[in-house]
């Protein structure tokens, strides 16, 4: 099978110089010598694309984009993988989903139009929520994660509650969508374009019905999906999408929010989606720096060179993932920071999980906080 | 509009359609084009040739200029960017001002780009020849002027290339001005230790 011309053009795959910079930085390759982005690409280009599509390695890639930052030829490897997964889906590939594919099933369930979810039970009693309004807060899968990962005690809904606190404090009464669906990120990256589109359309309709002109999200993946994938696969959006960090920057600069003094030292995990996919490195750091007394120490590999949290799209969570996570957590410990701040609920969950490891867990322990929560906690009077 | 042609100047246009081997004739019916050209106003001679740019091809132009007393020449062959100078010389050798030549680009702009539509290409070729003839009617002799060239040169940059060029020209007897931005000449070359492939000193 020959790689389609369209894909070659879109991803510049044929520009590959075979230099191997991608493989030498790839977090998977570091722990799994059998995995090499370069070889996947070169193999595909030299007439073995079919093999690539059938190979489980197609789903091993974290699509974290670190290879892309190094590539001299600007080969869009992540795009190559994503598009190839669409092809794989057509061939009926069995995607190696973690958790038995339960999460993907949940997402596919959500494509059903007649679903009437009860996803807002978490909303704190005092929170000010609007039925219709200018601003909507897109919660994402947090309620489901909390239900699903009870054994990890992730309590990721803290993030949602924190977001409500921040929004309300900045005099915003957000609309919460009763029937919002998963943004579709994970289905898209597993190659299931059809169901992704269904979810996307549900969400776009729900937001348009709510009358919101601005949608705020606390999830790096939702943000990328709204920002890049919805316009690509669905069409231009009639509303603006903001990551909570952008909202925070605006509110702080307008003097709507202020923070208590603290003496905490934190380090920040750049989520792939926010950082390398969207180039948002400075915004989270700006937000953190607006807390007086909060000091940020960087891990050895940060921003463009940050290492992924080890799993992506609830696929292929294996021993390699754990090793990446423990490597990352150790880097965080080495900074001497009190807490590791994450910018994506998935990173948060994955690290939490790594620390639950009965053998290694204790060695890896460090306080983890999501960016939104740490900001909400720091809010002053 | 300026420069009217004087009435007495009777137009005698010759059209030469080139086969370019099969490059043109493989698509365009050159004979039909020449025949069509023959029927155009002011055209007194139209012919085809297998390779107009060849020595015999050029000779035919020269002969026709003399025989038919041509005062405009239209060559329908390849791009003027390729052979305009060739045919200009041919005209000049036959005593015609080289600027009274017009070229029609049948090869690059017709036969090669419409390989699968020979009929339409032939129609287009006719149109193109008509365009060429139409323009040729208004061509005027031009005279190329000469300007003196001063026997001095300026070399901008005193690196290895600038130094070499300066020395060559100065040794040939010209005055050379070597302009260098830095306090010394030498450029990057002077910073390098040994140089490949001979591994000797750079300065």
């Amino acid at each position: 099978m020959v790689v389609k011309e369209e894909l070659l053009k879109k991803t510049q795959a044929y520009y590959c110089l075979d230099c191997g910079k991608c493989t030498s930085v790839c977090p998977i390759s570091r722990f799994n010598g059998g995995f090499s982005p370069r070889r996947i690409l070169i193999g595909s280009l030299t007439g073995r694309y079919e093999e690539t599509l059938k190979d489980e390695k197609l789903y091993t890639c974290l699509t974290c984009g670190l290879c892309g930052t190094r590539c001299p030829s600007d080969v869009k490897f992540v795009e190559f993988i994503k598009s190839s997964r669409f092809e794989g889906q057509k061939l009926g590939n069995l995607v190696p989903c973690s958790h038995g594919g339960a999460i993907q099933s949940l997402m596919r369930i959500m494509t059903s139009p007649s679903l009437e979810q009860r996803r807002l039970d978490w909303v704190p009693r005092g929170a000010q929520v609007a039925e219709k309004g200018e601003v909507a807060y897109f919660v994402g899968c947090l309620p489901y994660f909390d239900a699903f990962f009870t054994d990890l005690e992730v309590n990721s809904l803290k993030i949602a509650k924190a977001a409500m606190k921040i929004l309300n404090r900045a005099d915003v009464e957000p609309v919460l969508l009763k029937n919002e669906r998963c943004c579709g990120h994970d289905l898209l990256w597993a190659g299931d374009l059809d169901n992704f589109k269904k979810l996307a359309e549900h969400n776009i309709n729900a937001i348009e019905e709510s009358g919101a002109k601005t949608v705020i999200t606390t999830c790096a993946e939702c943000y990328r999906t709204f920002k890049i994938d919805y316009p690509t696969y669905i069409g231009p959006l009639s509303f603006k999408v903001l990551h909570i960090t952008e909202f925070l920057i605006d509110s702080v600069s307008q003097g709507k929010l202020n923070f208590k003094k603290t003496r905490k030292k934190v380090t920040f995990q750049d989520p792939c989606r926010l950082g390398r996919h969207l180039g948002m490195y400075d915004q989270p750091r700006m937000v953190l720096s607006s807390v007086p007394g909060l000091s940020l120490v960087e891990m050895e590999r940060n921003q463009q060179s940050a290492i992924c949290c080890g799993t992506s799209g609830w696929m292929n969570c294996d021993a390699i993932s754990k090793r990446i996570q423990s490597y990352r957590l150790k880097s965080a410990q080495q900074t001497g920071a009190d807490s590791l701040v994450t910018g994506c609920p998935k990173c948060y969950i994955h690290f939490k999980c790594a620390m639950k490891d009965p053998k290694m867990g204790k060695e890896l322990e460090i306080e983890i906080k999501d960016l939104t929560s740490i900001m909400a906690d720091a809010l002053g009077r | 509009m300026a420069i009217e042609r004087s009435e007495s100047d009777e137009l005698r246009i010759g059209v030469f359609v080139c086969y370019c081997g099969l490059n043109i004739s493989g698509t365009v019916d050159c004979e039909a084009v020449a025949e069509y050209a023959q029927g155009l106003k002011d055209v007194v001679a139209a012919s085809t040739n297998r390779y107009t740019c060849s020595e015999p091809g050029q000779q035919e132009i020269k002969n026709d200029i003399k025989e038919h007393n041509l005062n405009r020449v239209v060559v329908a062959s390849c791009s003027p960017r390729m052979h305009e100078p060739t045919f200009r010389v041919a005209c000049q050798e036959a005593g015609l001002n080289p600027y009274l030549l017009e070229m029609v680009n049948l090869r690059e702009h017709c036969s090669w780009v419409h390989i699968h539509e020979p009929e339409k290409a032939t129609e287009k070729a006719k149109d193109m020849v008509r365009m060429g003839v139409s323009r040729a009617r208004f061509l005027q002799p031009q005279i190329e002027k000469e300007v003196p060239v001063a026997r001095s040169t300026m070399v901008i940059g005193g690196g290895i290339a600038g130094i070499q060029a300066s020395l060559d020209l100065a040794n040939a007897g010209y005055q050379v001005y070597l302009i260098e931005k830095k306090p010394s000449i030498g450029g990057v070359m002077a910073q390098i230790d040994k140089t490949f492939p001979t591994m000797d000193c750079s300065i």
């Binding site: - | 190329e144 300007v147 290895i160 050379v176 070597l178 070359m189 230790d193 492939p197 300065i203």
Partner: protein, 592 residues
Amino acid sequence: MTDVGRHPRIELMTLSEVADVQGYIGNFRVKVLRKARYVDEKECTACGDCIDICPVIKPNEFDLGLSTRRAIYQPFPQAVPAAFALNMEECLGNNPIACGKCLEKCEKECIDYDMQDEEVEIKVGTIIVATGMDVYDPTELDEFGYTRFENVITSLEFERLINSGGPTEGHLIRPTDWQLPKRVAFIQCIGSRSEKRGNPYCSNVCCMNTIKDSLLIKDHWPEVEIKVFYMDIRAFGKGFEDLYKRSKANGVMYIRGIPGDIREDPETKNLILLAEDSNSGKVVEHEADMVILSIGLIPSAENSLIRQLLTLSRTSDGFFMEAHPKLQPVDAPTKGVFFAGCAESPKDIKDSVTQASAAASRANILMSAGKFTVEAITSLINEELCKACGVCARVCPYHAIEFDKEKKLPARVIEASCAGCGTCGAECAFDAVIMRHFTDQQILGQVEAILEENPQDKVVVFACNWCSYAGADFAGISRLQYPSSIRIIRTMCSGRVDENFVLHAFKLGAPVVLVSGCHFADCHYINANRWTQKRVEKLWDKLEKKGIRPERLQLEWISAAEGLKFAKVMKEMEELRQGVTLEEIEYTRKEL
């Protein structure tokens, strides 16, 4: 080098810049700004007394900051002219109450704080552009840690370190501990062959430079372990392959794979490189004491000014564009100007010298002939029709039209300066400009010939000689197929396309007209195509006012290399043509 200094027919002007160039082939008038040296170049014997006493210490640029120099200095020992120079911005002496120590010390009294910059005018017949190149700054390639890690240096810095005239007197040391590095790693293609950061082209010299450097190290210190990380080794020149083999025979390890990441061991300051050996497919960590980034060459920063002054153009890589890449590789598009060395493309010393001699020879041909035949395709003013409005003079990219505003006399063309673009002819509202060999009549004659029969089936395309017409030729050469409805009219420049040509075509029933020319950066006539754009914009407005769809007039920039684009655009033109109704054409005929 010293030959230059003492040659009787070479006037060496250092610390000088070209300020202005007027005139044309054979007759250039050049203004050169000679900056003050503050030291009498002829008197100074470079004795060095002044240096010993100068209190100002600055990084030495020649050693790339690896050593220091004073405010009064000689760039390097073999400098030509062998005179010192004083950097007045750094000198304290300029200040009346301050230093002045060198002035006292100089026995020959050749230091003069009051020396002034001067402007010199020279007249030359030919110009050789040898502005050279700059080297790539790898700081932006953060993964290699240049500037973050002290023991990561560039190949040019390495040259200074291993040079016996350099700051270490040729002893190879690494910056952190001044010890001989035991393990050295070279990384190739830094800033070269890169689409994203750096430059897309191959810099030509770096492979051989590294091979040479590896041998230099091995010659002096055979025990040093050398690893070269590369993508391809390009050793194509005479004697190059031998050198490559020698390097390998000396034990230099060539590893196919570029490191994606370098870390520094905070204690030893050693560097840990992570690279995939693409032959084995294994990712391996390599530890090195010193890393040398084999940096590429980039166009000289000087180029943009010279380009403007001499009306040159650049290729997409930023180096100067030659008149023809194969057949006139040392000629500039501007006549009488030639290229030598890296100004035109990255090259090694041998190639630079070869090209320099070629450029000298090309210039020699002109100068020994003593005369040159200029372009016959120039413009001419019909003085009877000229209303002395001055538009032609304003739009001329070459300032080849003289026009006196006060006296209101008809404009006059300086033929030797005129390059023949025809923009003046297109802009003149009174048809007072006669564009030789591309007269209005000639072009209108072609328009009429196209539209004589079945005008509704034809697309009229105006194409400039240098780019779009050549692009059409390229489409032909590549056998790219496009619809046969296309009729091309050649003009020297898209700037020649008069409003009248377009309107006349529409009046005669043309469904679609395309005006095409060079991309903005490539215009053969400096910037004449800016006027094309303005004119087309005006025409769109005009057409719309008359109720004619402006879409029927199209504009496209197509370069000589864009045969594919030409064919694509022609297909689009045909699609547009099919969308134009007979009623529309009829309406247009009446309206115009």
